[in-house]
Symmetry: D2
Subunit: 379 residues, 4 copies
């Protein structure tokens, strides 16, 4: 596996390297870690890579790697560049015949997302978008319970993702993360909704197995002079008839446990909180509350995979991301053996998940500017 | 004090009797507990009242009590009848010269609420609506912190009140509570929003000291054949510029801890949950999280009153309701001494709070039927 | 019902009055509220009692009340005096033919406790010690589950009751509660263990249905000059073979949620915390965790009684104490009808529970001074 | 870095590899992963190691690696064998001139531990025992607060580590983990206390900066036929005068969140729970409760290092273990530069921590068999 972006000091690059290699299913062999050759080399040396596998540009890497001996060459590219580079790098990687892991958001626009899907199809390569929440074992368990009909028809979904780090105008105080996220040129048409609200919506859709089809959005900005939203409240309707709320905020001082999702059905309900990711709280009509936990009780039977540690050891973000990689790397391995990986067995977030997320964001932005109550999500 | 309604088996009657008498500021001396004379008498005997102080109708009680010797007669009427009787009983009580405690909702319509306010003014009597959440010491503490500006300007409010008891169609299975609440004739134009959503909105307004001025509402019904809403999601805007969400549900299976409110300001935020009513969680920008608790630390100085038990003893619903009574009975006592009770000292939920609640409900119902996004709350 | 002690400003008196009258099964008709006649009268007037039913001394009350007409006279005495008066007042009340409710601890010594039991037997009156924790519905539910064998044989019990209010030397700063509790003359041979550790032990025994038979105790004092323990750690062995830990502390700064108890059996375990009294957490071998809650699910069937409020309304200390009263008043009523109340139906903490508690405390104090590891609890 | 043990399927081997390499400060270059050459080779291939760096025995590895070119050879050995091999492997590694990371427990006996310390001193190499709890940032923060005197003199410590996985006799059902842990030959004189109780004690000593000097222990076995303890309750006294309780259990069904520690001082107290490792709860006398969290508020200043993820991302066991490695690898790097690493700057659990842990366990086992109440921990 090779990496584009993620050089010295980039947290996201380290996280992907640790997660990708956690189960011994891949090994970092090369990279184009930075936009300057020298910085890329320094990063490569930090990572104990031989000098000839560290490239100045991703184009050079995509050109040279295929010429190496087969047992030695890169098969897969991990794209952890700034967001606006995801699309061109992923397109070029697919063109060069590599499988791709792309950090979220997959692209900047819905059109780019659709182009990328066409390219995936034509190239017959695999692409994974790291919507990492769906790597948490208890999120997978939640999806299984809904799919089995254990909760009955889903009536209502409340997903929230409050953060507080943009409660002050950090973007003018030298904080780079804040600067690009609040800049329409680099972040696109939304800040809060695009960065975290989209994740809350994605988890809601993943668990319910149904897509959001209509939105009524209120994107707001609390800080004077900030051009994009820092809080987003959206009433949502799902295709299958459920309704709900998606709320995300970056000005909710003190919030840190991140995403919480509650799903209410005819016969029961479930709740999951990022702060206690190994727990799934289940309420059954007329019965006691049930708490399933990774590797214990009922959940052990349903979700045996994807938990590496003994019961009670706190698993975290790295474990979830590693689960996404583990499934995708199995799919890649199967593909390399000439077999077609099946969605049912090896369910990773793919290019179509990426497309829908972009469509959802487009509808939310339009809705927020509209006087009409409900706006449809384009297909 | 006398009571109208609240006879044998009525939980709400017992709660009001215990709460009203908890601090020794009032004593139940008479009542018209039921619509039939015999049932009223049975209830009176249960309560150790002399037979001559138990009346067949509230009209009889309002006529006869004023003729009793002054030191002995009723001064105050507690109205705990079904909702549609609140208005006529309260009007008659004020006409007869009594102070009134009225269970919430104060009336069935906004017009009734306004009439009642005029009557309060003319009669120069006092009226309290038992919005009991504002009796929790930590809710009062929250209001004080916001009023002092400790959180800075308020940006966002998220209030929710999920319940699950109407997730099945109880109203057709002999459950009386469900039957009247889902009947438009007895409950008015809304079930879920009127019963509990209005309380969430009321607490939000109480803490922030600002009223909701615009709403964008989605009232839904999950049960076929149920004529009123059993779930209500509302985007809200406050007069002072804050925005937020009010969500209430009666189909959220498993939810039981009731109301939760979170308020986010420029400099800090707060959270309160009914399930742990003695705690107020405070987040300050750039500092550790703070948990204030009744009778400890900082809160002890700010909120010395209204806590009867030693630290750590769980206080509950009765204590909160008793706090509302305690304040109102002090106001009544001051009035009877010929002094005008001041809102700043003796702040109980009054007839104007009741009016605003009815106006809010009217706007929510209209909004839910409208294709327009935002609907104004009438003044 | 009449009351001895509990005059103006005494929290414990108010709590008992509210709790005793909550379900309409008793009415306060007389009292000897204070050691001075004037204070007693003032208290009586606060409580709306006629002057002739307010007495200067309990002896006067016990002499005069029996002479009143039968339908009017006191049947039951509530003893809420300082601890050292519990014994003489309770003895006198039984002698005069009254039933007795006595605040805990029942007496100052084991010998007094045994005398009192003899008097109860001879007088054929009923006596209840208000070990109020056993009034919490989920504590009763826990006892039932253990008794039914649902947890299998009990192996281990961990009961703790940490408080922090004596972390500084309050007794020299004018705090009366601290002064008498740390005074060997008024509090007896132990402060922390007697005041709260004994309650933790009592709950452990109540839930398991087995008594502590051996102790290994470490009573310590953290504050120089304080003559009694302010922290108590005890290893314990139960008659039926279970072992465990009882820990109580008054110097554990910040602790306020009070008593927590965990019971581990062969097939499952349970946990209860005073801070969330309506919940019982159950762990079953190889299954999900279960949370029972008052009035919901499984618990609703097993524990229908003793919960007055709708689901989700926080119940507190007053509700628990009221449950103890409710059961005992039913037993008194049955006794007055000439029937013998049965322990199985009407299970309130009685004089034998009081005796065992005194025996346990004696063993703990002896153990703490001993170099031997294990000390037996006398029978 | 090279590894001894930790071959295919060994969770502990993978955890150490991920943690050691997380910050790019070390790279796995060789290993003797298994007791058979073939299994060792298979494991090496899984790890993408060249065949010539995968050895059949640790002795072969220690002999051949020093002969490789300097820039290429192993500097450090990670020992993740079964416990009874820790001592011989670590001794041989030091003899061969390597630095050593040794999984806990360091040795089987106190004598071995002392021998190892002498070897460390003579060899002038560094040795780290992976007491990984001390790698959690909030545990480090707790130690700093105590050292600064913020809590005042420490009065009481309550440390507990309950697990439930040995509540049934797994050792006879083919569970290897259970089999060796309950076998005196492989596990030594204690099972529960040695495996997890020792960790609870270690964290207590780390945070308070004071060692346990006397113990009164009750080791018990709940399962018939099991030769070692599966539950351990210990009253403890610290050198500096604090007292407390250490409780560990393997039969506490349902417990999974692992270690909890509470420390009470004159001026404040703290609590940390493994289930929410990024939080430190602080209670201050007469003030609100404070919750510090990694990367936020006050803690950000005191504990800037050792947190890799953005605020709110759950960190887990791997992050804590990686922190231990990070500090130790810095010490090794400094040593290789010819500078002496200082304990104050680079504080990792060393051979003396390992010795004290063995001494504590010896005293606990002796105490449990003794009729005397208090037994001293040998120096």
């Amino acid at each position: 596996m090779g990496m584009v972006g993620g050089g010295r000091g980039a947290q996201i690059g380290r996280a992907h390297r640790v997660a990708a290699q956690m189960d011994g299913k891949a090994q970092l062999v090369c990279g184009a870690f930075s936009s300057t050759k020298q910085r890329s080399r320094d990063s490569g040396r930090d990572l104990f890579l031989p000098a000839e596998r560290v490239y100045g540009t991703y184009r050079e890497m995509f050109r040279k790697e295929p010429r190496r001996p087969e047992e030695d060459r890169m098969d897969l590219v991990v794209v952890v560049t700034p967001n606006n580079m995801h699309y061109p790098v992923a397109m070029a990687a697919l063109d060069a015949g590599f499988h791709v892991v792309c950090d979220k958001p997959m692209t900047m626009t819905l059109d780019e997302a659709k182009n990328l899907a066409r390219k995936v199809k034509m190239s017959e390569r695999l692409l994974c978008v790291t919507h990492y929440f769906t790597g948490y074992p208890m999120i997978v368990e939640a999806r299984r319970l809904v799919a089995k009909g254990r909760l009955g028809a889903i009536r209502r979904v409340v997903a929230e993702y409050p953060q507080g780090w943009l409660a002050t105008r950090l973007e003018t105080m030298g904080n780079k993360q804040a600067a690009w996220r609040t800049d329409p040129k680099r972040a696109g048409a939304t800040c809060c909704m695009g960065d975290i609200g989209s994740q809350a919506a994605n988890v809601a859709e993943y668990i319910t197995g149904s897509q959001i089809s209509e939105v009524c959005a209120n994107l707001t900005t609390s800080i004077k002079g900030r051009p994009l939203d820092d809080d987003a409240s959206v009433l949502v309707r799902f295709k299958d008839g459920a309704q709900g709320i998606v709320w995300a905020s970056q000005i909710a001082i003190g919030e840190e446990d991140g995403l919480t999702i509650r799903v209410y059905g005819e016969d029961g309900s479930l709740a999951w909180r990022q702060g206690q990711p190994n727990r799934l709280v289940l309420h059954w009509s007329g019965k006691s509350t049930e708490i399933r936990r990774t590797k214990t009780g009922a959940a052990a039977k349903d979700a045996p995979a994807n938990t590496r540690l003994p019961t009670g050891y706190p698993e975290g973000y790295l474990d979830a991301l590693a689960n996404i990689y583990s499934t995708f790397l199995d799919a890649v391995a199967r593909d390399m053996e000439g077999k077609k990986p099946k969605k049912d067995d090896l369910d990773y977030p793919d290019v179509y998940d990426g497309i829908h997320n972009m469509a959802f964001l487009r509808a939310v932005v339009r809705s927020s500017r509209s006087k009409e109550k409900w706006i449809k999500v384009p297909k």
